[in-house]
Amino acid sequence: MKPFDLLQPGSLGEALSLLDVADARPFAGGTALMLMMKAGVLRPQRLVSLRNLRLDAIEANGSLRVGAMTTLRALERSEAVRNGWPVIARALRTLSNVRVRNVATVGGALAHADPHMDLPPLLSALGAQVVVAGKGGERRLPVEDLYAGYLENTLRNELITHVEIPALGKRGAAYLKCTTRSADDWPAVGVAVVLGSEERIFVSAATDRPVRIKDEAAIEALKIEGDLHGSADYKKHLLKVYLRRAIDEARNAVH
């Protein structure tokens, strides 16, 4: 690992300006970043810690507003989340392991743009939006619009500050994933379903980013490549099976 500077700004503005140089990376939980640095995939000169930006509040007021630096574990254990969006708490229980959830953050999990992650498809299906801040100010965009491709997000020197999740109400929702090696493996496929007047279905892991589909027939047309999790055919098949199961689970979800 190349030596680097670790800076710990106390305000969002300061963080954004410290990031405004080449070879600088924001540092949230660090669970993905450190692995990439150790592997030599990323060799930043400067890390800007977001820890002191006070972005770790969870506020429920009809909708749910989650600070980007909220740990996955805090989200999982939040009373408001368990009551209002139980599908999120359920999904988090099998997200990696508790050691990772204790440090990984909601903002990091969204910005990383690894299609194998659980929150992007789920929050997309829930109709969540992210609030991002850049030097020019704030903007909002749907979670699914964060993704341009494998490990590629659409942020323009911006930081995610919050994610806002509309009320789920009595709509049925489910997120299912299928791992093909150990239980804590990255999933081969992920499927998120939110029922209601506007049914929202997102698939991930098998695709290079979360993709919204209308129904099972749409799976055939998806661009899926084989990898160590399974062949393209197998993953397509798994998507169909898991879509059916996710819809079933969403219909039967009680909360």
């Binding site: 690992m1 099998t94 299928c178 093909t180 090696r181 150990s182 239980a183 160590l228 197998y234 098949h237």
Partner: protein
């Protein structure tokens, strides 16, 4: 764990003494080489080959050497200034300390950067470049038999093992051992058999994954060397380093504190020769700590292919068996030829078969080296012969347990080598599995997309022989006791077991006894901590040493006119007039053994047999091929459990490790021999959520009469039956037979389609 009733139950042996070191470990104070820092110490980082087979045209280290903070960059050229013939290995002197002229696998060490700051050393490694003239490579063990790609130009047996001598100077071959066993006339008996079955099984290359990766530190003067290393074989390290340097053994000191797991990865020479040479070159202490990922390029478990053929009589008796096994040893032999022979002779399985033929081949390929991994080849063999057994039972319409019962080796019957089975509780283990699995009761088959199945498998292993252990037991003037032995406690609890054995003899609580860790300047010789040999061999040596000390104390009592029950401190007070002196007992143990003849036959192949069986209940998701274990039962013959709790955790630990090798783990290589999943995001070992909800680990009531207090080894036994039991259960559940590991869901789904 359900305790077996023991024939030798006494205060120390048979008691679940909590691990002596557990408090140190959980409070972070146990000594590990990883924590060792010496004044002036340099860190080494390794530059590795990017091609699978090639001649080294050029290595450019100039940019690395120029990086500020770099102390020195070392290639084989500098290594040879210290060691002119820098090839090491337990079976063949085939592995160079750093690659010379050729590289033989992707990941082979080619150069090392030394720096005071490990991050600088690592940066500098990125600045080294090498050019290779690529050569044809071979990766598959069966292809390696006939491939034109030859991994080693000339074979160089180390000279230690008589059965490798005929391979000396052999050229144009990848064969590092061709073990052959012939008893009776298998070909003829096969012709006469009523039914003949033939199957082919294979296993994949996997890795040990100890939580503590390989690490070694060397410090030197011109004429002496101290190596602090996470090694399972300190005595071997001393002998081999002394040989390489042309020094006497007493100038090389090897210290081994605790190990964070070993499983066979930390045997023989791994980093020790490299850090020794680097320290002698740099005249500074040198440390190399591998990353978790670098271990993929250091030592692995053999991939294998096994062709097995059996002739069966009308009454369901196996009358003939042919076994042909190819072991993928990778680029350097390591202990592969021993795996080929010592496991090879049990390839026909724990069955009473009159006519047997075994051919077992150790092969060089252009993959990372393979060595011993918790079972020494046995899990690969049991995988095949127990799948084969189940398939035959199915074809014959026999219950799988009944078919095994009919053919099982009984006490007093000769195994394939001709060695008569003794203290091997095969029948008890099989019957206990049957009981615990409630085999006779109806089994619920599941519904909808979830089908249930169950399966069992039984395997055995002959402890590697002949090997030697020595121990010393010191009784101090206050009556306290110290045990000196070179067995490495790598988490298996050997310190506790040795203290229990010494305490049993000396009538002392195991908790009061200190066990001194391997230090070749202090602790006596031991062959190595491997192959479940230590409890038996070192246990016998410690017992003899403790008996020797006790005897000396009794002689003193007599000489001094003291009562037979006179407390130990009073003996020394009387003898020396104050609290002074000590009594040292020594013990040395080597079992009897007879080398196999040209047909692989011997009447004394092993000092003891290990027996392990597993039964599983599983659920298969018929839509996805996913397998979920609901119950895992492991039953073993461990002789008399010295420490029942540790026996239980050894059985469960071994079985869970094998579960990973069965369901998930696989090193995946591309067509150029590059490992595609050299990270733990892509190489998945089992986690808590992969464990079955119900797990039983049990030792049957048994005694190893030649073992210390009836005990014998247990470290590997839990691995034997797991893989074939699961494959047999999948077959039972959904009618799909898989013959290659791992049993991944896609391969089940493919067959279910």
């Amino acid at each position: 764990m359900k305790r077996a009733t023991q024939s030798t139950e006494t205060p120390q042996v048979g008691r679940s003494v909590p691990r002596l070191e557990s408090w140190l470990k959980v409070t972070g104070r146990a000594e590990y080489v990883h924590n060792l820092r010496l004044p002036g110490m340099l860190y080494g980082k390794i530059f590795r080959s990017t091609v699978a087979h090639g001649r080294i045209r050029r290595i450019d280290v100039s940019a690395a050497q120029a990086l500020p903070g770099v102390f020195k960059v070392v290639t084989s050229k500098e290594v040879r200034e210290i060691v002119p013939d820098p090839y090491f290995g337990p079976a063949f002197h085939d592995q160079p300390i750093l690659a010379i002229d050729k590289v033989r696998y992707v990941g082979e060490p080619v150069a090392v950067v030394l720096a005071s700051d490990p991050h600088v050393a690592e940066e500098a490694v990125h600045l080294i470049s090498a050019e290779y003239e690529e050569l044809p490579a071979v990766y598959d063990e069966v292809e390696a038999m006939t491939s034109k790609a030859i991994v080693h130009d000339v074979l160089r047996p180390a000279g230690t093992f008589p059965d490798l001598k005929h391979l000396k100077d052999r050229k144009n071959t990848n064969l590092a051992l061709d073990f052959r066993l012939r008893r009776g006339d298998a070909a003829n008996a096969m012709k006469k058999a009523d039914r003949v079955f033939e199957h082919r099984f294979s296993t994949q290359q996997v890795m040990h994954t100890p939580l503590e990766p390989l690490v070694s530190v060397a410090e030197s003067t011109e004429s002496s060397l101290t190596i602090h290393t996470a090694s399972q074989s300190p005595s071997f390290v001393r002998i081999e380093i002394a040989r390489l340097l042309g020094w006497p053994e007493n100038k090389v000191r090897v210290r081994v504190p605790f190990l964070g797991g070993g499983f066979g990865a930390k045997l023989y020479i791994k980093l020790e020769a490299l850090v020794s040479v680097l320290s002698l070159l740099a005249k500074r202490p040198v440390k190399i700590s591998l990353t978790m990922e670098e271990q993929f390029f250091t030592i692995t478990k053999h991939a294998s292919t096994f062709r097995i053929k059996s002739g069966v009589s009308k009454d369901g008796r196996i009358v003939a068996r042919e076994c042909e096994v190819w072991w993928n040893g990778g680029a350097y032999a390591d202990i592969g030829p021993r795996v080929t022979q010592k496991s090879g002779f049990t390839a026909p399985g724990p069955y009473d078969i009159e006519h047997v033929a075994v051919d077992s081949y150790a092969l060089y390929t252009n993959l990372p080296p393979a060595g011993a991994l918790r079972g020494f080849g046995i899990p690969q063999l049991v995988w095949a012969y127990e799948g084969h057994t189940d398939l035959m039972a199915r074809e014959l319409g026999l219950d799988p347990i009944e078919f095994r019962r009919r053919n099982l080796l009984r006490e007093g019957r000769p195994q394939a080598t001709g060695t008569v089975m003794k203290d091997a509780a095969l029948e008890k283990v099989l019957e206990r599995i049957s009981v615990l699995m409630e085999w006779g009761k109806p089994f619920e088959r599941g519904a909808g997309t979830v089908k249930k199945g169950r399966g069992i498998a039984i395997g055995f292993k002959a402890c590697v022989s002949p090997t030697t252990s020595l121990a010393a037991v010191n009784v101090n003037a206050d009556g306290s006791c110290i045990v000196y032995c070179s067995t490495a406690d790598m988490g298996q609890g050997s310190d506790t077991a040795m203290a229990q054995i010494a305490g049993e003899v000396l009538h002392m609580a195991a908790e009061s006894i200190t066990v001194v860790h391997s230090d070749t300047d202090v602790t006596p010789y031991d062959m190595a901590t491997l192959g479940s040999r230590s409890l038996f061999h070192m246990g016998n040596a410690v017992k003899l040493a403790a008996e020797d000390a006790l005897n000396k104390l009794n002689v003193l009592r007599k000489e001094l006119g003291l009562a037979a029950d006179c407390p130990i401190p009073d003996i020394f007070k009387k003898k020396y007039g104050m609290q002074a002196g000590n009594v040292a007992g020594t013990g040395s143990y080597i079992p009897s053994y007879k080398s196999p003849d040209a047909n692989g036959l011997t009447d004394n192949a092993t000092p003891f047999w290990m027996v392990g069986a597993s039964g599983v209940e599983i659920e298969v998701d018929t839509e996805t091929g996913r397998v979920r274990l609901t119950r895992l039962v492991n039953v073993a013959d461990v002789g008399t459990p010295i420490n029942p709790k540790i026996v239980e955790t050894q059985l469960s630990g071994a079985a869970i490790m094998q579960l990973g090798f069965t369901l998930h783990e696989k090193m995946v290589f591309d067509a150029q021999g590059q490992l595609r999943n050299a990270s733990f995001a892509e190489y998945k070992i089992p986690g808590m959520l992969d464990l079955p909800a119900s797990m039983v680990n049990e030792a049957v009531v048994a005694e190893q009469k030649s073992g210390p207090f009836g005990g014998k080894g247990v470290g590997e036994t839990g691995t034997f039956g797991v893989s074939p039991a699961i494959a047999n259960a999948i077959h039972d559940a959904v009618g799909v037979r898989l013959t290659s590991l791992p049993l991944n869901p896609e391969s089940i789904w493919e067959k279910l389609k």
